[in-house]
């Protein structure tokens, strides 16, 4: 009787041990996934639609590279949740040289955002926060007029915030003619594609596309592609300020020439770090 009770107790103990070991194993297996899915500290919870599961989205390795980057921010960043919860400013897009804010076709709502020229108090946001922002994958390659209310809400959660990001330039080029700029063929009517990266160098796979527009460049005669090229080559720390914007048109470039579909567009301010101070690119270059 005692023996039978003893063996029953031992059996129950062994059963408990097996369950504990299985639970521990399960916890260990699930732990990395739980961390990967956790929203960044200070960020609002991610919207419910599928987002970074798109083909070409940054591989975990590139995320790891971002995490390993030494902190760049020389200006203390506000908690991101506060930045993204900011009341949005209505875009002012007066048009440029006869080209209306909506451009000449394409996605007129998107064009009006790309063509905005208002300024604001730019809020410092770490580059890895912007690289980690989600978006609804269902909006990719679709005009805004066809987005659902949920899709618009998910994008509006982040879009239209005046931000500034520190990083390193990974080159720049003149874009082709596009509806945003009324398909203007001359250089003065083309956007620039500039790549901002968390690390110095030419790798754009984990970069943010930041675009000085014809209207924003008209106010900054010292912004030239040559100077952008020099800043890239020298690996100088820069601070780019402008409007956070979601561009759904080129998901095929993810992991190749961009790390996210979020952009700074338009770029309203470019600064370089000189003698421990942020100096506008215009002043830094005109003083040489």
């Amino acid at each position: 009787m005692i023996l039978r009770r003893g063996s029953a107790a031992l059996g129950a103990l062994a059963g408990c041990l097996v369950i504990i070991i299985m639970l521990a194993a399960l916890w260990l297996i699930l732990q990395p996934r739980r961390i990967a899915n956790e929203p960044l500290r200070g960020l609002p919870p991610a919207p419910s639609a599928p987002r970074r599961d798109v083909a070409g989205a940054p591989a975990p390795a590139s995320r790891a590279a971002v995490v390993a980057t030494p902190r760049l921010e020389t200006t203390p960043a506000l908690p991101s949740a506060r930045v993204f919860a900011m009341r949005r400013q209505a875009p002012v897009s007066p048009g440029f040289e006869g080209c209306p804010a909506n451009g000449d076709g394409g996605d007129p709502d998107m064009n009006a955002l790309k063509n905005r020229s208002d300024t604001a108090a730019w809020q410092p946001v770490p580059i890895d926060t912007v690289l980690a922002l989600p978006w609804p994958a269902t909006t990719q390659r679709r005009h805004r007029e066809r987005w659902s209310r949920d899709e618009m809400r998910d994008v509006a959660r982040y879009e239209g915030v005046p931000i500034s990001i520190e990083g390193y330039l990974a080159g720049g080029k003149q874009s082709g003619p596009e509806s945003t700029n009324c398909h203007g063929a001359d250089a003065g009517f083309r956007d620039w594609h500039v790549w901002l990266s968390p690390m110095p160098g030419r790798d754009r796979s984990n970069s943010i596309v930041v675009e000085p527009t014809p209207a924003s460049r008209a106010l900054h005669p010292y912004w030239t592609l040559n100077r952008i090229g020099h800043l890239s080559q020298r690996g100088e720390l820069v601070r780019i300020s402008g409007w956070l914007f979601y561009d759904p048109e080129h998901p095929e470039q993810l992991g190749k020439t961009r790390g996210t579909l979020w952009e700074i567009h338009p770029v309203m301010r470019i600064e370089v770090r000189r003698n421990g101070q942020w100096v506008p690119l215009d002043a830094a270059e005109s003083g040489r």
């Binding site: 000449d104 076709g105 394409g106 596009e178 509806s179 009324c182 398909h183 080129h250």
Partner: protein, 57 residues
């Protein structure tokens, strides 16, 4: 023997238009028309535009 081929063509089309005129619409219609009328001059060949879209950056 009956043969077929799919060709990809990249065009640069330039011209004058009012700033707000939908240049993508104007030029895609013009290129379709060029192919349609040009194809008539090629005896023994049938040419169809299967896709035509603006290239973006």
């Amino acid at each position: 023997m009956k043969k077929a081929i799919e060709l990809e063509l990249r065009l640069w089309v330039e011209g004058d238009a009012e700033p707000a005129a939908d240049f993508a619409k104007i030029t895609t219609a013009a290129v379709r028309e060029m192919v349609r009328t040009g194809a008539k001059a090629q005896q023994g060949l049938t040419v169809k535009v299967k896709s035509l879209r603006e290239v973006g950056d």
